[in-house]
Amino acid sequence: MTFIYALIAVALLYSAHKATRVKGLLNAALWLAATSCLTAILMYIMGSPGIAVIELSVGAGLVTVLFVFAISIIGDEKIESKFFIPPLAALLMATIPFIILAFLWISGISPVFENTPADILANTIWEDRKVDLYLQAALIITGILGIMLLIAPSVANRFKKEREK
């Protein structure tokens, strides 16, 4: 069983790496969807099937559709210019804190992964953490307004230009 978990972990890290380093934006979006799928599998293994389903539908479904929509509007562009930070320095900056964290963590902690009963989770979400729900509602309204205000004029302008051509 550990071999399967290790295989999932390797696939997850490989797909995340490809999502960030692959050249085409469409390929990056597809690799990101694969990363979401594998993250959802890990969440299921960790005893969070509800969150895994939401991650699968939102992360691998909705976000991928949004990416493809955005790429279809603005197209794929290869930017060739100097980096802000040299890649080696960025690699060091990204690696060193996590190596320190890993050393701090290796102290024999071994949690038990168990499924949370649905009624306890529902009670926590709907009773104990109502503020989170209000925040989520506000975020969703913000997202809808963001799409309406930002994307709609661009699409309209694009249609106008195409009609003029």
């Binding site: 990101l32 969070s48 992360g59 929509f69 980096f83 989170d132």
Partner: protein, 99 residues
């Protein structure tokens, strides 16, 4: 098993952070943020397992998923607008918008 989860968390955080530092494309920035947040989300669930308080960790993960999606939506919309106005997706072009 827990070592594998920790390696995944650290790997996702590292890959996302590294890509955030070196990338110049606005859409790639959103991809890097998504990878980074997935690592953070796994870390919160793992912390919930460690302290045996999974229900709170799951409700926080749910909030993170919603917030992450909205960040992606706003980021993509911004990328579209910047590309329409400046004809490039380079993040340096954002500083030229006020001119």
């Amino acid at each position: 098993m827990s070592y594998i989860i920790v390696i995944c968390i650290l790997g996702l955080l590292g890959i996302g952070f590294y890509c955030l530092l070196i990338t110049r494309n606005l859409l790639k920035l959103v991809v890097a943020l998504q990878v980074l947040v997935k690592g953070a989300m796994l870390a919160i669930l793992f912390a919930g397992c460690l302290v045996d308080n999974m229900e709170v960790a799951q409700s926080m993960a749910l909030t993170i998923i919603v917030a992450d999606t909205i960040v992606a939506v706003i980021g993509l919309a911004m990328a579209i607008q910047v590309r329409q106005i400046t004809n490039t997706s380079n993040i340096r072009s954002i500083s030229t918008l006020r001119k």
